[in-house]
């Protein structure tokens, strides 16, 4: 349902993604793992076009957009694809001047032009789903990191995106607060939400992901089903990386 074909991304002379192709089926959860600077965040941001690929093709559902070097993508096309996606950021990025429920309503009211009443109803239902309905009228500044991230998940889901993109959704949180967020994402996964997440958090990846894509230096080193890839990685590089993550997690360091 989501297809990235031969995606290349350059920042000046720096080639961050070197012809990455990934297919993501509807209703699955794909974890992008790999060392920092390997390109997983950039790849994720190429799906909702916060970064515009230098070349390659992006397909989300029925919408397709091809990129060519030196050609600027039309902002209408960017909007068309972006509106198929929702995104959760590492640092939450709630709008600090809006309450929790206003954050969730914002996309519905401003972008989709829903009447406020209808938007409020949907926003409340989503806050309920992430366990934040009791804080609907709270300012983001008064919420814990885990609570802010759960509101951010509700905000991303509000316009019913085809895919939820999560960029290190737990790495700004201590383990206890990260668990709240893992639980919410796990519940969404079990309900069939299509997700792609860039993460260092092995607990998050192994608990929720069906598929894993291991990226290093802008290329896909190995990809496959999560269970088999974590248990029995084929490539030496993947083995070492997963062993390191395990070690970090067991020694109690935040992943």
């Amino acid at each position: 349902m989501i297809g990235l074909t031969d995606i290349e991304k350059r920042f000046g002379d720096n080639v961050v993604l070197k012809g990455v192709s990934v297919a993501i089926a509807e209703g699955t959860v794909t974890a992008l793992v790999g060392p920092s600077g390997g390109g997983k965040s950039t790849l994720l941001r190429c799906i909702n076009l916060l970064e515009i690929p230098t070349s390659g093709t992006l397909r989300i559902g029925e919408e397709t957009l091809a990129f060519r070097p030196g050609e600027k993508a039309a902002s209408k096309d960017v909007q068309r694809l972006r509106r198929q996606t929702g995104m959760v950021f590492q640092n939450f990025q709630l709008f600090p001047h809006r309450t929790a429920i206003e954050n969730v309503m914002e996309g519905l009211v401003t972008v989709l032009k829903w009447p406020a009443e209808r938007a409020r109803e949907r926003a409340l239902a989503l806050l309920e789903k992430v366990g934040m309905a009791h804080k609907a009228d709270a300012w983001p500044a008064t919420l814990s990191g885990g609570q802010q991230q759960r509101v951010a998940i509700a905000r991303a889901l509000a316009p019913s995106p085809k895919v939820l993109l999560c960029d290190e959704p737990t790495s700004a949180l201590d383990p206890e607060l990260a668990q709240e967020v893992v639980d919410v994402l796990g519940q969404l996964a079990s309900e069939g939400t299509t997700m792609v997440m860039a993460t260092h958090d092995l607990r998050l990846a192994s608990k929720i992901a069906n598929e894993v894509v291991f990226l290093e230096a802008g290329v896909v080193v190995e990809s496959g089903q999560a269970a088999s890839l974590f248990a029995n990685p084929q490539r030496e590089r993947t083995k070492r990386f997963i062993a390191t993550l395990r070690h970090e997690q067991e020694s109690g360091g935040a992943a």
Partner: protein, 226 residues
């Protein structure tokens, strides 16, 4: 009643009338128009095409770099030689507006730049266009940061409107000058004018505090970003 007090009370009426009819409208109008100019200039400097950026930088350079009094004289006394004849009030309004526009554009440019890039991305990620993100997400946050520096500009403006007396606008300071011309009591009248400016500035400072409290109701920015 002592003489000085009697004189102050007698002249209070004309001074307040001049403040109401000239000082206040001149201040409010030129601040409003000045902010619109300032926002436009700031947006051009941040997002506009290069040639236009050069034009507005030139404008800011000129209006920040020359004395306000000279600007007013040029507009009121100078432009007629070039065939542009303006009444005193519109001439003052144009001068103050352009001056405020230049100063406030720098403030607005800085506060828009102070909103983290992540807020733009969050706005884009829920499907907003550039102008929706600007209006709904960036400007409200920038506006809060802008209150103290823009209040400074506003309070300066209230006092600077006294310069309009020099181009024949009968505002409050000129009203005081006219009373001095017949009473020969400069000390009393100018102290009175100074006190009235002080009172106006104090009211504005109090309003600034109230506005800041209101805008602070959603708590700190930094905590919200954890």
């Amino acid at each position: 009643m002592p003489h000085w007090l009697q004189l102050m009370l007698e002249s209070l009426g004309p001074l307040l009338w001049a403040a109401l009819v000239f000082t206040t409208p001149l201040t409010l109008l030129s601040f409003t128009f000045g902010l619109i100019v300032g926002l436009g200039v700031a947006l051009i400097r941040l997002f506009g095409p290069k040639p236009l950026v050069a034009v507005v930088r030139f404008y800011v350079w000129i209006f920040r770099g020359t004395p306000l009094l000279v600007q007013l004289f040029l507009i009121f006394y100078g432009l007629p030689s070039a065939g542009i004849l303006l009444d005193a009030f519109p001439a003052a309004l144009i001068g103050f507006t352009l001056n405020i526009g230049a100063y406030s554009s720098e403030i607005i440019r800085a506060v828009i730049g102070s909103v983290p890039k992540g807020q733009w991305e969050a706005a884009y990620s829920i499907g907003m266009t550039w102008s929706q993100a600007m209006r709904r997400t960036i400007l409200p946050q920038a506006g809060r940061v802008a209150v103290p520096p823009l209040s400074n500009t506003f309070i300066s403006l209230v006092k600077d409107t006294s310069l309009a007396a020099a181009i024949t606008v009968p505002e409050m300071f000129q009203a005081a000058q006219r009373i001095v011309a017949v009473t020969y009591e400069p000390l009393i009248l100018y102290v009175e004018a100074a006190l009235l400016y002080l009172a106006m500035s104090s009211v504005l400072s109090a309003l600034q505090t109230r506005l800041e409290t209101r805008l602070n109701r959603y708590g700190g920015f930094l905590e919200a970003r954890a």
